[in-house]
């Protein structure tokens, strides 16, 4: 079993490069200025590997996976 996790953005580090939204459109959209809006829910298990890869791909190291709530996942 993998632990529940959720995505978080460090907006001080984020530059709006938009790679994350391209790599993980299921969980990351962009606001009107091109900065990521991440789902506030736990990452569904089927997307965890993609989420980890997206975190590694951020050129600003502005995206991370924090421990999630677990058991309360109401998203997909």
């Amino acid at each position: 079993m993998t632990r529940p996790a959720r995505l978080r953005v460090d907006f001080i580090a984020c530059d709006g490069r938009r790679l994350c939204a391209e790599a993980l459109p299921e969980l990351i959209t962009l606001d009107d200025w091109g900065f990521p809006i991440v789902s506030g829910q736990d990452v569904p298990p089927r997307l965890l590997a993609d989420a980890r890869a997206t975190v590694r791909a951020c050129p600003r190291l502005a995206l991370r996976l924090d421990p999630g709530a677990g058991g309360h996942d109401r998203s997909a």
Binding site: V9, D10, F11, I12, A13, C14, D15, G16, D31, D32, W33, G34, F35, I37
Partner: protein, 417 residues
């Protein structure tokens, strides 16, 4: 700075005039010092029983912060926050001008409680001299085992945010930093750091002397103690009050000489606070619990009275434009979103064509998406204006306005840098 009045009971923090060291010691007695470990733990427990919370706006329990920094494994630092970047608030400055030694007592005690050898007192430039003199008097008297260092705060609205104060002391840059790490774990030069508002420290200095039961004899059981409140706008005697927490809002206005005419709305908490209908709020206790369902709170202890015949949308537009300019510019949603929101609010205020749908979309896209709470505060203010001034919004949509443009809320002009 104008008068100070305390409702009902004797003042705790504020007396007329500036108290020098001798007057201060005569008034309050000497603070406890040279605390051993058991006494330190007992005093943190006493602060917990007192129910003291931060008076800078966030209202976090002080004992929990003290305990977190005290439990850290490396030497800690205390930062007393007297930045007071909120343009409408003067309560921290009035406190430091009247009772500088009470603030310094609190800073020294906080340092003893957390094992810090050093306390940095970051103060608004208006009171720098008073605080310097007070610190020098204590040094001459050999009063403290803790090193006190007074610094002038940076200007600007976000400069008072805890991590921005730490960064200012460390690097002369007054911009917030990312969390984690928490300041209690890694703050000033990597040391566990306790940042406390100066009023909170003054209360701490009194709890150390007189105990939790005394502290709780004012205020409400859930939110005990007294608090400083800046009252401004359409009242006859604007100034700083010391009142029990939970004093009815209408009574605050009366203590400030009463309203100078019919009131329309009140801005509560600060520029990150909320507008409320004046009649609806006047019977409410000025406390978190008493104001929560109005979408407001005591915040940094601010009440601004908006008279009838003044356009609340115009006041809000000026403040939001100011807040947009005060963004540290580090986070995209705040940097780009707040000016966009300010533009929309200005259009509403000027009866030009605005897009309420777009405004609400942007409020949602900015809320909660910064490294500090600056964007959230601006969003809260605008949302409260849309609620409180909805009749005015309808008039504006019809091309009318019920009031002239006033300049009730102070907004510093020019650049802060």
């Amino acid at each position: 700075m104008t008068g100070t009045r305390l409702a009902g009971t004797r003042p705790r923090l504020l007396y007329p005039g500036t108290a020098g060291l001798i007057e201060h010691t005569t008034r309050y007695g000497p603070p406890p010092s040279g605390l051993g470990r058991p006494q330190r733990e007992a005093l943190i427990a006493e602060v917990d029983r007192a129910g003291l919370t931060g008076r800078g706006g966030a209202g976090f329990p002080t004992a929990r912060k003290l305990a977190a920094v005290a439990a850290a494994h490396s030497p800690a630092v205390v930062v007393a926050n007297g930045t007071e970047g909120e343009p409408a608030s003067i309560k921290d400055r009035v406190l430091m001008a009247r009772s500088p030694h009470l603030v310094l007592d609190g800073a020294v005690l906080a340092a003893e409680l957390t094992g810090a050898g050093r306390a940095v007192i970051v103060v608004h430039r208006d009171v720098r001299e008073i605080m310097d003199e007070a610190a020098a008097d204590r040094a001459r008297a050999g009063l403290d085992r803790v090193r006190l260092e007074v610094r002038t705060a940076a200007g600007g609205f976000v400069a008072g945010q805890a991590s921005a104060v730490v960064r200012w002391v460390q690097r002369d840059v007054a911009a917030p930093t990312a969390t984690p790490p928490r300041l209690a774990q890694r703050g000033l030069r990597g040391a566990p750091t306790l940042v406390q508002n100066v009023e909170t420290l003054a209360h701490l200095a009194l709890i150390a002397r007189y105990g939790a039961a005394w502290f709780r004899s004012a205020g409400t059981p859930a939110e005990p103690g007294t608090m400083l409140v800046t009252v401004l706008g359409a009242v006859r005697e604007p100034g700083v009050l010391e009142v029990g927490t939970g004093t009815p809002v209408g009574q605050l206005l009366e203590l400030a000489g009463s309203a100078s005419g019919p009131l329309q709305a009140l801005l509560l908490g600060g520029y990150f606070g909320a507008w409320v209908d004046a009649a609806g709020a006047s019977g409410r206790p000025f406390s978190s619990a008493g104001l929560a369902d109005l979408g407001a709170g005591p915040g940094a202890g601010l009440v601004a009275a908006l008279p009838a015949g003044v356009c609340g949308l115009a006041e809000t537009a000026r403040v939001v434009r100011y807040l947009a300019g005060e963004s540290a510019g580090q986070c995209g949603p705040c940097r780009f979103g707040l000016p966009a929101i300010a533009e929309q609010v200005e259009q509403l205020a000027d009866r030009r064509s605005a897009d309420p749908w777009l405004l609400r979309r942007w409020l949602g896209q900015v809320d909660g998406r910064g490294g500090c709470a600056h964007p959230d505060g601006a969003v809260r203010l605008v949302r409260s204006a849309l609620r409180t001034f909805c009749a005015e919004l309808e008039r504006h949509a019809a091309g009318r306005c019920s009031g002239g443009p006033a300049r009730l809320l102070p907004v510093p002009s020019g650049s802060r840098r």
